[in-house]
């Protein structure tokens, strides 16, 4: 009886420990020194005059946005630092110049006080212009600092009214400046032109574009985006590839990011010890309109310029990235001098063959992501089959036949030997 009780208690304790072990590390993620700061999200809401239109489930766009914001604020994960910025909220006049500067921080990016944020949202009423470009620039400033993931969620119901500053190009420049900044866009009851503009902004930063016709769609999507910001993600290290191998930056295992302009070649170097394997993969993202038909080439070259191995990929049609990779096991070497053999420097050259669609700016370059892993080398194959073993009915037949013949021969031989022995 006592044993059973003890067992039950033990099982209970074990279960508790397991559950606690599973739950706590995840729960404690927020403030722990994981080497990453808290993820930041800036919600950018269009409060222009057109938000008065009553076409989302019978209520005005503004009312739908407010209700969605309230629900999102309730569901925001603890660790996310959330801010709200408005555009076109304050200036009702006709002066384009003033109207295009009309963007304000409604709630600063930081630890979230839900009540305060909700109160701030409640005060909004549809007013002015739609300065998307300037608002994005300011939002990027709001998110400045820290190495956590950063996300701008832009909600708008009309295209930018502040040309010539193209919000698409603004987005691209923001992405080129900051690491890990993504802009997601939502269009409220969008026209084709707005769809094109907002998806262009999203594409420029690797974000997503959603068109919204109903209030619950808006809530779900914004919630999803905020949750996505909270997911831990590996942040790539910025690096600047060189024009040639001799000046290239030396890389170790890790994830890197760079920019590569059209027609450029980027070089990197990796030191690989004999017996190690170099694995590199590269993806070049199409963050603007490009012509159909594109490719990427990653070459591993010795310092003397001999190509060792290459990875290449080509594609055509709509895409976000084109990627390829390569593997190079550095052969084992016996160093005559004894001691540790020297590492070989392998140069990695990246070229892509994207071409910009007409009228698209060519700077900054396309974002490039490079993964480098240096691991132990593979054990080489000495045969096609595993350990040279055989398999199948033909093998069995051949073995049986050989065995049988060997038995016969052996039998005859021994008979012959007996006969010879008897004769003598």
């Amino acid at each position: 009886m006592i044993t059973r009780k003890r067992l039950a208690a033990g099982v209970c304790a074990l279960l508790a420990a397991l559950t606690a072990g599973l739950a706590f590390p995840a729960g404690a993620a927020a403030g722990e020194p994981t080497g990453q700061d808290a993820p930041k999200v800036d919600l950018v809401l269009d409060v222009s005059g057109s938000m008065r239109a009553r076409d989302i489930d019978g209520q005005s766009r503004m009312a739908a946005a407010k209700q969605a914001f309230n629900e999102v604020l309730d569901a925001t994960p603890e660790e996310v630092e959330l801010g709200i910025r408005t555009l076109g909220a304050d200036y009702p006049g006709d002066d384009r110049k003033t109207g295009c500067k009309d963007t304000a921080q409604l709630y600063p990016v930081g630890p979230l006080d839900r009540t305060e944020a909700k109160t701030a949202v409640a005060t909004l009423s549809p007013t002015g212009w739609t300065p998307i470009g300037p608002a994005l620039l300011k939002a990027a400033d709001d998110l400045d600092g820290g190495n956590g993931s950063k996300r701008i969620v832009l909600i708008s119901d009309g295209e930018d009214t502040c040309a010539p500053l193209d919000p698409c190009e603004v987005a691209r420049e923001i992405a080129a400046k900051g690491i890990g900044l993504t802009i997601d866009t939502l269009g409220l009851v969008p026209t084709a032109k707005l769809s094109r503009q907002l998806s262009c902004i999203a594409e420029a930063t690797g974000g997503t574009y959603t068109s919204v016709e109903h209030q619950d769609e808006l809530t779900d999507r914004v919630n999803q985006l905020v949750d996505r910001a909270a997911d831990p993600v590996v942040t790539p290290v910025p690096v600047k590839g060189a024009e040639e191998c001799t000046e290239a930056p030396a890389l170790e295992s890790g994830l890197y990011t760079d920019r590569e302009e059209f027609g450029q070649q980027r070089w990197y170097r990796v030191d690989v010890l004999p017996g190690q394997e170099l694995r590199a993969s590269v993806s070049v993202a199409a963050d603007r309109a490009v012509n159909p038909g594109y490719g990427v080439l990653l070459r591993a070259v010795t310092v003397h310029g001999r190509e060792i191995v290459r990875g290449e990929a080509a594609g055509d049609g709509r895409t976000d990235v084109i990627s390829t990779g390569l593997r190079y096991p550095e052969p084992e070497r016996d160093d005559a001098d004894g001691g540790k053999p020297a590492a070989e420097t392998v140069c990695l050259a990246v070229t892509h063959s994207f071409s910009p669609a007409s009228g698209v700016k060519t700077t900054p370059g396309l974002p490039l992501e490079l993964t480098v892993d240096v691991v132990d080398g593979p054990s080489q194959a000495g045969d096609v089959a595993s350990f040279g073993l055989g398999r199948g009915w033909w093998l069995l037949g051949a073995l049986i036949l050989t065995g049988f013949l060997a038995g016969l021969v052996w039998g005859w031989l021994s008979r012959w030997r007996v006969a010879v022995w008897r004769t003598n």
Binding site: G390, R391, G403
Partner: protein, 263 residues
């Protein structure tokens, strides 16, 4: 005894209470075949990890690039299936799944409808891709599938601007057929083709972000075992038996007739 039990009960409650508050929307407990992922990543770096046999769902927008990743081991021939539920009204669209290996090299589909055009207002599109068999080793110049992480990318390749951003629901599932010894090749990789495997340190925090963390259910295969051992062993035994039979045949039954009993 009572104290211990009270304490463990308290701990248990605490653990259970803390679990839903965890930052991860679908915690690592999904290993137990429980919760399947309900979201998708939007790039290689953020791909949502799924296990083979898990039915992952995600809601997205037309024009999104949705990414998942799954582990595949030696001897498996993975099949990726995806179903996209399209909105009630839409123009003609083309959907496509692409599968990439751990080095982000695009992997060819042997068969399956990898790309499919959906006529206007079709309720859903089904896509499939049957990969080649995963081998334990290949030459560095080859593009053969190797054990490691595989990425699935689902997207609309042909979509008119009017349809951009429309909500869609996607569902993917990766299964694999075990090809077994027929695909057992010699040689093996020291580490599976899992991106970021060289940067993973022992003392790293459990919840730190990694590029890919999932393993097959029983860990990665060593590549030493295959049913070729059984075939070869059996062949050896049968050869020995056949040898004995052959020998016996030459000797006839028992002692030779001409040999007198006294010899």
């Amino acid at each position: 005894m009572r104290t211990i039990r009270a304490l463990s009960a308290a701990l248990l409650t605490l653990g259970l209470a803390a679990a839903p508050a965890a930052a991860d929307p679908w915690p690592s407990a999904s290993r137990d075949g429980g919760a399947a992922p309900r979201q998708a990543g939007t790039s290689f770096r953020t791909a949502t990890e799924i296990e083979q046999g898990q039915r992952a769902t995600a809601s997205g927008s037309t024009g999104d690039y949705l990414y998942w990743s799954f582990p595949a081991d030696t001897g498996q021939r993975p099949t990726v299936r995806a179903t996209v539920k399209l909105p009630d009204t839409h123009a003609a669209q083309t959907w496509q799944i692409d599968v990439y290996d751990g080095l982000r090299r695009r992997q060819a589909c042997q068969y399956g409808a990898q790309t499919r055009a959906a006529a206007a207002d079709t309720p859903s599109v089904e896509l499939a891709c049957v990969l080649r068999t995963v081998r334990a080793w290949s030459e560095p110049w080859a593009n053969d599938p190797l054990p490691g992480t595989y990425y699935i990318r689902l997207t609309a390749t042909g979509v008119p601007t009017s349809d951009l951003g429309l909500p869609v629901d996607a569902e993917v599932r990766a299964d694999s057929r075990d090809i077994g010894g027929a695909a057992a090749v010699d040689g093996s990789l020291a580490e599976p083709l899992v991106p970021g495997i060289a940067t993973k340190s022992e003392d790293q925090q459990e919840n730190a972000a990694v590029l890919a963390g999932l393993q097959p259910q029983d860990g990665w295969a060593s590549g030493r075992w295959s049913d070729r051992w059984v075939w070869t062993g059996m062949g050896g035994v049968l050869a020995a038996l056949a040898g004995v039979a052959g020998y016996a045949l030459t000797r006839g039954a028992g002692r030779p007739v001409r040999v007198p009993p006294s010899a």
